[in-house]
C-alpha cells in the first residue's frame, strides 16, 4: 500500500515537482511570517530577557522598558534591606541623541549598567570587553548599526547629547525594535548622557538570594518601597512585548502577517494536495471497483499527503534556515527555534492530512461510470 502511494508520487516527476513547490512555498511562507513574528517579539524585549535580573523596580505605571521615568537612588537601599534580595543595581535605558560624522543627529538608546553587577550589560560581545567600558566616555555598539551610526571601528569618537563617546567594543545581533540602536555604557556614563541627576536612576535590577521566593520578595519590595512598581523579569518582558505588539501598528501588522501567512499556506497546501489527489481519481475509482474499501483508499490518499508533507517540510526547513541565517545580518530578525521547526512539521502534516480529507470526499463520491470510460 505504501508502495502505491510512494510510486504514484514519484512516477510523475513533473506533478511531484508542482506539488512540492506548492508545499514548500506554503511552509516557507509560514516559517518566515512566524519567524518574523518571533523575531519581533524577541527584539522588543531582548534587553529585558538578557538582563539577568530577577526583578525590575521602576517608577509607577511605565508603559514598557523603553519608556521609564526616574526614581530616586535612595530606593536602592530600601530594596537591599528586604530579605531575599542579594543585589540591587542601578540601571538606565534612555533615548538620547548620537551625533553622526555628518553633523546630523541619530536617536539611540543608552543602556547604563553597573559594570560589576553581571546584570543589564551587553551580550554577544565580538570586540572589546565589559572591562573596556570602565574608561570615561566609553561605549559599545552593535556591529549591525555601524553604518547607521557612522562608526568606522574601535576608537571611533562620536558625541552623545554633546558629550564625547568613544567606541571600545562591538556586540553582534543585539537589535533594537525601535529605529534607535542600543548603546551600552557604564551606569555612571549613562547618567551624564541621559542628563539624569546624580541621585536618579530609571531602574533597579534585583538579583535574588539563592533559594528566595521571587513572588514573596516581589510582594515585600512592593510593600517596602513607596512609589515604585516591581515586576518579575517575565512580567517586564511581557509588558514590553504587549505594548509594542498591541499598541503599535507594527505589532498588529506582524501578527496579521503571521496569521495571513498561515491562512495562505493552508490554502496553497489544500489546493496542491487536492489537485494531486484528483489527478489520481480514476485510479482510486479502479481500486474501489476492484473491491478496495474506502478505508484502503483513504490510507493511500493520506499516505500520499504525508509523503508530500515530509519531503516538502525537509526542503522548506532547509530554505527557512537559510533565510533565518541571512537575517542575522539584517535589521529584521527571523527566528527559527527548534520548537517552531517541530511545530511546522506537525502543521505540515496536519495541513496535508486536512487537505487530503477534502480530497477523500471527492474520491469516495466518484462517479462509478468514470472507471468505465475509455
Amino acid at each position: 500500500m505504501a508502495n502505491l502511494a510512494w510510486k504514484n508520487l514519484v512516477y510523475d516527476k513533473v506533478r511531484l515537482s508542482v506539488t512540492l513547490t506548492g508545499i514548500v512555498f506554503a511552509l516557507v511562507l509560514v516559517l518566515i511570517q512566524f519567524g518574523l513574528f518571533l523575531g519581533f517579539l524577541d527584539t522588543t524585549a531582548n534587553i529585558v530577557a538578557a538582563s539577568g535580573a530577577d526583578l525590575w523596580i521602576t517608577a509607577p505605571g511605565i508603559p514598557h522598558v523603553n519608556g521609564a521615568t526616574a526614581i530616586p537612588e535612595s530606593r536602592r537601599y530600601k530594596a537591599l534591606s528586604v530579605a531575599g534580595v542579594e543585589r540591587a543595581e542601578k540601571h538606565n535605558i534612555q533615548f538620547v541623541n548620537w551625533k553622526l560624522p555628518s553633523g546630523a543627529q541619530e536617536a539611540v538608546q543608552i543602556v547604563g549598567f553597573e559594570l560589576n553587577s553581571g546584570m543589564g550589560g551587553p551580550w554577544n560581545i565580538v570586540e572589546g570587553s565589559v572591562d573596556d567600558l570602565r574608561g570615561e566616555d566609553t561605549v559599545m555598539v552593535d556591529e549591525l548599526y555601524k553604518e547607521k551610526l557612522g562608526v568606522k571601528g574601535i576608537g571611533h569618537v562620536a558625541e552623545i547629547q554633546g558629550k564625547r563617546a568613544r567606541v571600545v567594543g562591538f556586540t553582534r545581533a543585539i537589535r533594537s525594535f525601535t529605529t534607535s540602536p542600543y548603546v551600552f555604557t557604564s551606569f555612571k556614563n549613562s547618567q551624564n548622557y541621559a542628563r539624569l541627576g546624580p541621585d536618579e536612576m530609571l531602574f533597579l535590577l534585583v538579583k535574588l538570594a539563592p533559594g528566595a521566593n521571587a513572588a514573596a520578595v516581589q510582594k515585600a519590595l512592593q510593600e517596602t518601597i513607596p512609589g515604585v512598581d516591581v515586576y518579575t523579569n517575565a512580567e517586564m518582558r511581557r509588558k514590553t512585548q504587549n505594548y509594542w505588539l498591541f499598541s503599535t501598528g507594527a505589532g498588529v501588522t506582524t501578527l496579521m502577517g503571521a496569521a495571513l501567512g498561515l491562512l495562505v499556506g493552508m490554502v496553497v497546501v489544500a489546493q496542491t494536495i487536492y489537485a494531486s489527489t484528483v489527478d489520481h481519481i480514476r485510479e482510486f475509482g479502479t481500486l474501489k471497483a476492484m473491491g478496495a474499501g474506502n478505508g484502503y483508499v483513504y490510507k493511500v490518499i493520506i499516505q500520499q499527503a504525508l509523503i508530500s508533507a515530509g519531503f516538502g517540510y525537509v526542503l522548506a526547513i532547509g530554505a527557512g534556515y537559510l533565510v533565518a541565517k541571512g537575517s542575522e545580518t539584517g535589521n529584521a530578525a527571523i527566528l527559527l527555534p527548534p520548537e517552531m521547526a517541530l511545530g511546522t512539521l506537525v502543521l505540515a502534516a496536519l495541513m496535508c492530512i486536512g487537505a487530503s480529507v477534502i480530497s477523500i470526499r471527492k474520491a469516495t463520491t466518484i462517479d462509478p461510470a468514470l472507471v468505465f470510460k475509455g
Binding site: L4, A289, M290, N294, P368, F372, K373
Partner: protein
C-alpha cells in the same frame, strides 16, 4: 448450471423530476456459471449501467440483484467492497492499470487487497498464463494495448473470482490482440467455469458469446441464443 448473477425487475433512474432519465427499465436476467454472455446495444442504451449494477458499483433504483446468492441491491458501502472482492473481477475498456506500478505490481496490488494469504508467486503465474511472463517488470506505458488488457485480465483473476465483468475489452485493440483477449476470456468461462459478462460493440467477437443480450433504451429486447 448454477446462477452466478440473478437480476429481477431492475430499474435505474438518473436524476429526479423532469430531468430524470431511465437508464434501465425492468431488466431481468440470469448469468450462469461457465457461460459467456455478450451485452450488445447502441451507445447510451444502458449496457454499462447494467454492468455497473451487476458489479455492485452502482445501486439500482428498484429491483433485485443477487451476486453468487447475495442480494446486493440494498447492501451498504461497507459491505459491498467485500462482495466485489470475493466474487467479481473487472476488466475495463481503458485497461485502468496503475501507470506507476509494474505489470507484476499491478497484479500484486489486487492480491494485496484481499489481505489474506495467497500463494507467493500467484501474480507471476497469472501473468505467465496470459503470455506476459517476460514483461513482469515493464510499466504499462511500455506495453501494447493487447498486452495491457492481458495484464488487466490477470489482475481481474487475482482473487480467483467466479464472475468476470468486462466493459468493451477489445474496443481499443487491433483484431489480433482482440482475438487473443477474447480467447482468454472465453476460456475463463469454458475451462474454468466462471460466469463472464462482456459489454461490446464489436461484431467480430460476438461469436464468443454463449448468449447475446440486446439492450435498447434500458430494456432487454430479445434473448437469442448464440450459434
Amino acid at each position: 448450471m448454477q446462477n452466478r448473477i440473478e437480476i429481477r425487475n431492475l430499474s435505474k433512474v438518473y436524476g429526479e423530476g423532469s430531468t430524470a432519465v431511465k437508464a434501465l427499465d425492468g431488466v431481468s436476467l440470469d448469468v450462469r456459471q461457465g457461460e459467456t454472455m455478450m451485452l450488445l446495444g447502441p451507445s447510451g442504451s444502458g449496457k454499462t449501467t447494467l454492468l455497473s449494477v451487476m458489479g455492485g458499483i452502482l445501486r439500482p433504483t428498484s429491483g433485485s440483484v443477487k451476486v453468487n446468492g447475495i442480494e446486493i441491491s440494498n447492501l451498504n458501502e461497507t459491505r459491498l467492497p467485500k462482495v466485489r472482492l470475493d466474487n467479481i473481477g473487472f476488466i475495463f475498456q481503458g485497461f485502468n492499470l496503475f501507470p506507476a506500478l509494474t505489470t507484476l505490481e499491478n497484479v500484486e496490488i489486487a492480491i494485496e487487497l484481499r489481505g489474506r494469504s495467497i500463494p507467493k508467486g500467484r501474480a507471476r503465474q497469472l501473468l505467465e498464463a496470459v503470455g506476459l511472463g517476460d514483461k513482469l517488470h515493464a510499466y504499462p506505458a511500455n506495453l501494447s494495448g493487447g498486452q495491457k488488457q492481458r495484464v488487466a485480465i490477470a489482475r481481474a483473476l487475482a482473487g480467483n473470482p467466479p464472475i468476470i465483468l468486462a466493459d468493451e475489452p477489445t474496443a481499443a485493440l487491433d483484431s489480433t490482440s482482440g482475438q487473443i483477449v477474447m480467447d482468454l476470456l472465453s476460456n475463463l468461462a469454458r475451462q474454468e467455469q466462471r460466469a463472464v459478462v462482456i459489454v461490446t460493440h464489436d461484431a467480430r467477437v460476438l461469436h464468443y458469446g454463449d448468449r447475446i443480450v440486446h439492450i435498447t433504451d434500458g430494456r432487454m429486447t430479445d434473448l437469442p441464443e448464440a450459434a
